[in-house]
Amino acid sequence: MAAGAQTGSEYIKHHLTNWTFGKDPSDGVWKIAETAQQAQEMGFYAIHLDSMGWSVALGFIFILLFSIVGKKATTGVPGGLQNSIEIIIEFIDSNVRDTFSHTNKLIAPMALTAFVWVLLMNLMDLVPVDFIPQIATYIGVHVYGMDPHHVYFKIVPTTDPNVTMGMSLSVFFLALFYSVKNKGMGGFVGELTLHPFTSKNFLIKLILIPINLFLEGVSLLAKPISHGLRLFGNLYAGEMIFILIALLPLYAQWTLSVPWAIFHILVIVLQAFIFMVLMVVYMNMAHDTGDH
């Protein structure tokens, strides 16, 4: 449990608050939020330093590891690292080939990035919940002289909806771009307005347009939201359960945290995989020009 006399709900709340840097609405100054309340008040003009820091750091780990292997890639007998990275790449490549039936050089690297990056971010969930936050608190208190209750540090970027939605919205806008590019503006609008209900009578067709637009619009908008929130929800719930387990007395924690962590290994990989596959599926739909 975190330092000091915290109640259970305070502990949970503390663990679910990001390290936020933003514009304080009361005086217009950019600063680090001291309380969860303050972080909330900062609204949109704030940034989660922990989420950004960890995600970018993990992204760099991915890029560095893979580009080193890429640079040294031999066509002969591969070493252990190259071998494992080749397995990942072939796995992604075969998945993309199965799901994505068009040619676009962006999709496979994007799927690889999404899969490995999300996997690495999810993996942070397996680090004991208090491990790094405690170190951060120690540094915050002893180096910067902060109140320990005001040091917020979340290490799993994918438990931050900004992170998952940021990626899913990127995919969404990219899908919109490719839809318009491949189907034309008319084709894309037609897809949204002339289906699923259609008629040969022009007048009825006209009447059906708003209904179709509503239905298709909902399904269009539901895609990025469900895409991002699925990942967020799974990881958030997982993290939440780890936090709840951490509230148990020390001697009893392992009885629950170990099985949950083992189960979570599965969830982590599965969610990263689902995120990647959905992304490829959405991109495929954006490229499908066939009649509907």
Partner: protein, 156 residues
């Protein structure tokens, strides 16, 4: 749980990572994989070709071997024949030579015996004449008697 600028920051970093991956990660590794696949395929087909060549070579070797065996048999037969020929020839030559030598020896023997006979005749006639001379010492004229002896010698 607040939606804020992190959203955009994340989108930007995602884009950067994707672009980086697209430029520096994906192409070298996939091309290495592709190249290795090609190398392996080439190696396999080369192995197959080698196997075929080996099969062909085996057939060739078999053919050559049987040919060589046949030839060797021929050579041996010829050699055997030649051997017997040579033997025959040698036999013939040897017998010819022996018969020649025999003839020569016979001739020699004959000559010798002739010479012997002649000298014997001469000695005998001399003895006869000497004997007769001894007996008829005074009456005998050497020249007429020589003639008579010569006649006798030819008669013998």
């Amino acid at each position: 749980m607040n939606i804020n600028l992190t959203l955009i920051g994340q989108a930007i970093s995602f884009a950067i990572f994707v672009l980086f991956c697209m430029k520096y990660v994906w192409p070298p590794i996939t091309s290495a994989l592709e190249q290795r696949k090609k190398t392996i395929a080439d190696g396999l087909s080369a192995a197959e070709l080698g196997e075929q060549a080996l099969e062909k070579a085996k057939i060739d070797v078999d053919a050559k071997l049987s040919e060589a065996k046949g030839e060797a048999k021929n050579i041996i037969a010829m050699a055997e024949k030649r051997q017997s020929d040579i033997l025959d020839e040698a036999n013939v030559k040897a017998s010819e030579e022996t018969s020649k030598k025999l003839k020569l020896a016979e001739q020699e023997v004959e000559q010798l015996s002739m010479r012997l006979k002649e000298s014997l005749k001469k000695d005998l006639s001399k003895l006869v004449v000497e004997g007769a001379e001894m007996i008829l010492k005074k009456e005998i004229d050497k020249s007429t008697h020589d003639k008579a002896i010569q006649d006798l010698v030819t008669k013998i």
